[in-house]
């Protein structure tokens, strides 16, 4: 009887100690896990330029994996009103006028080095991070939509109505403009953008993410080896997203 009580007390104490130890140690463990990622207090560095290479020859018509993954990761869901629904990434089907050759590819913010959206933004809410990611500061966006007028890729959306299904990592709000963040919250944890991860998980291999400034990165090697394209290269915006096969 008394042994039973002792046992239960011992278990309780052991569980308490383990729990406390866990609470004390876990953040450290997590920190160790994230040792490769940029610490929260440190600013993004211009030594990196994040970019993406999309191989349209591996991108199948009808495959929407990247779009679905983006929606899930960023809490961008359809309301059934397609004209006002935000789209951070979309599949575009292309057909060459003369030859009829078709291409399928994802289109999103091209994370330009010279972004027209940043130039035109009256408040500076539209900005480019040091590592090349183009973002919207939701605290100072006034919802004027001038950036949407300026973007050559139709990459930006205006939030036309209230949303209550937000992902805590990705704050969104009615009355502000938004677009692909290159999953900045994942990049800062040393993870790939959700779309790229989904494309790899589906064994499509059409999307490659990496540092364009690092000559040894896979993306830089591929760009150095194969003919790649910047969409609307005539505008000389120096896009961070490149395409292969179109």
């Amino acid at each position: 009887m008394s042994n039973d009580v002792d046992n239960s007390r011992r278990k309780f104490i052991a569980a308490g100690v383990a729990g406390t130890a866990g609470l004390v140690l876990a953040p450290g463990v997590t920190l160790l896990d994230m040792a490769n990622a940029r610490p929260a207090g440190e600013a993004a560095s211009s030594t990196k330029r994040w970019g993406m290479l999309i191989d349209s020859t591996k991108c199948a018509t009808g495959c929407n994996d990247c779009v679905t993954a983006c929606g899930k990761e960023n809490g961008v869901a359809s309301t059934g009103r397609p004209e006002t629904d935000p789209q951070w990434i979309r599949k575009i089907e292309l057909k060459e006028v003369k030859s009829g050759k078709s291409h399928s590819l994802p289109m999103m913010c091209q994370h330009c080095a010279e972004p027209p959206c940043v130039d035109v933004c009256p408040t500076g809410a539209s900005f480019k991070r040091a590592d090349g990611i183009v973002l919207v500061d939701r605290h100072i966006c006034i919802g004027c939509r001038y950036c949407m007028m300026a973007c050559p890729y139709k990459a930006r959306s205006f939030v036309h109505e209230e949303h209550d299904d937000q992902n805590p990592d990705v704050p969104r709000g009615k009355g502000c403009v938004e677009s692909c963040t290159l999953c900045v919250h994942r990049i800062d944890k040393d993870l790939e953008p959700a779309c790229v991860e989904a494309c790899s998980a589906g064994n499509h291999g059409a999307m490659l993410f990496g540092d364009l400034n690092d000559a040894n990165s896979e993306i830089s090697k591929r760009i150095a080896t194969y003919a790649t394209t910047q969409v609307r290269a005539d505008l000389a915006l120096n896009t961070g997203v490149r395409y292969q096969g179109i």
Binding site: P122, I142, G143, C144
Partner: protein
């Protein structure tokens, strides 16, 4: 002197008119609240047509505000006495219309509550931010200009302040045109031609508004506008209307010459449905050719009611022109992959549709009413009625 502008016998009528205008302003504010509360989903604007009817109204008012000051400039800067007498009214209308236009622009913002941010966080590379600066200084300079014109002690400075206002007005409309001129991606915009085109549009729309307001004030006071003055102003309006036509022709001819722009021109000039109709029937026929015919007609051009009709048509044409430029320019899809046919769930490669909603219209017309309200109150309390030294007043009593 001027105390009879809105004579006591007409006080009842004046307050009635004021009340009606006030109600329209309230309707506009109500519409803005409704849009703010529910989000822009209740408007006709979408992720394709991001600027809609409110912007057509706002830009018309801002452009006309700058142009109406022309009347004062011709007086102060170029020394024409007939226009000098009209300077104060022109300055008032400039302030009133700019205020109305900015009200619409501000209340259409997704986050209109962040007005302070719009005024304190300025990205100096942005034409919009530059415009915030241009508008603020414009208000100040025109207010000073009014002071120098209306206070005898300040008359000596009128010419200098008037000159500053003249230069600033040109800068302001250059800025408005540049909002579109600096958009590199869209085929309707991205040309420096839009800056001078907006300036000449401002001359035309501004003078048309002035002539209508002037006619209303003369009619209200049972006065008749001197024929010589009427003649000169209608000729000036005709010149401005013709100049806008010239710029329109140059704009479209330039586009037609560039192979990459021919699809866009085909859309506006031939297959664009509502935009094509608004261009040919609204802007060209009703807004340009009809007023020119009236203003140069040997008989009709002598009748004040026909001249007012011509001015109204110019304004109608101005709205049509801005609608085609703003909405039509966005309705034509971006050419992201030139030479390829594009399709997607985001309406790539398709003509975008837009149906303006009632709240948008109410907000826009609310801005016009706000300008009218400011004007009506100001002319009631201060001497804005043009007083010509040589005029032939035919007072009814």
């Amino acid at each position: 002197m001027n105390n009879d502008v809105f004579r006591k016998s007409k006080d009842g009528a004046f307050y009635f008119v004021l009340g009606v205008i006030g109600l329209v302003v309230l309707a506009g504010l109500g519409a803005a609240y409704y849009m703010e509360h529910h989000g822009h989903v209740v408007t006709g604007m979408t992720n394709q047509i991001v600027w809609g009817l409110p912007h057509v109204f706002a830009i018309f008012l801002i452009v006309a505000a700058s142009g109406v000051l022309n009347v004062a400039s011709i007086g102060s800067v170029f020394g024409k006495p007939m226009y000098k007498a009209r300077g104060p009214l022109a300055g008032l209308l400039a302030i009133a219309m700019l205020a109305g236009g900015l009200m619409v622009l501000m209340l259409d913002l997704g986050r209109a509550d962040r007005l302070i941010i719009a005024m304190t966080y300025l990205n100096l590379k942005s034409v919009f931010a530059l415009n915030v600066f241009l508008y603020t200084v414009f208000f100040t300079v025109v207010a000073l200009y009014l002071w120098t014109m209306m206070d005898r002690k300040m008359h000596a400075y009128s010419k200098y302040v008037g000159f500053a206002a003249f230069i600033w007005r040109l800068a302001l409309t250059t800025g408005t045109g540049a909002i579109f001129g600096f958009l590199v991606a869209r085929q309707a915009y991205g040309t420096a031609l839009l800056a001078p085109m907006f300036i000449i549009m401002s001359f035309s729309f501004g003078l048309a508004v002035f002539m209508i307001v002037q006619a209303v004030m003369y009619r209200w006071n049972d006065r008749v506008l001197d024929e010589a003055i009427q003649h000169r102003m209608k000729n000036l309006l005709a010149v401005f209307v013709a100049a806008v036509l010239y710029f329109t022709v140059v704009y479209h001819m330039t586009n037609l010459y560039f192979a990459k722009q021919t699809d866009f021109e085909r859309f506006i000039l031939l297959d664009g449905g509502v935009y094509t109709n608004l261009f040919w029937f609204g802007q060209i026929l009703l807004g340009t050719l009809a007023p020119l015919a009236i203003l140069f007609h040997p008989d009709l051009s002598k009748r004040s009611s026909w001249i007012v009709m011509a001015a109204m048509l110019v304004i109608l044409g101005g709205f049509a022109q801005l609608y085609v430029l703003l909405i039509g320019g966005q309705a034509f899809p971006l050419s992201i992959f030139p030479g390829m046919v594009e399709s997607s769930s985001f309406f790539d490669g398709r003509i975008h549709t837009y149906s303006p909603s009632l709240p948008e219209f109410l907000l826009g017309i609310g801005g016009v009413a706000a300008a009218a309200l400011i004007t009506a109150i100001a002319v009631k309390v201060l001497p804005f009625m043009p007083e010509d030294k040589v005029h032939k007043v035919i007072a009814a009593d």
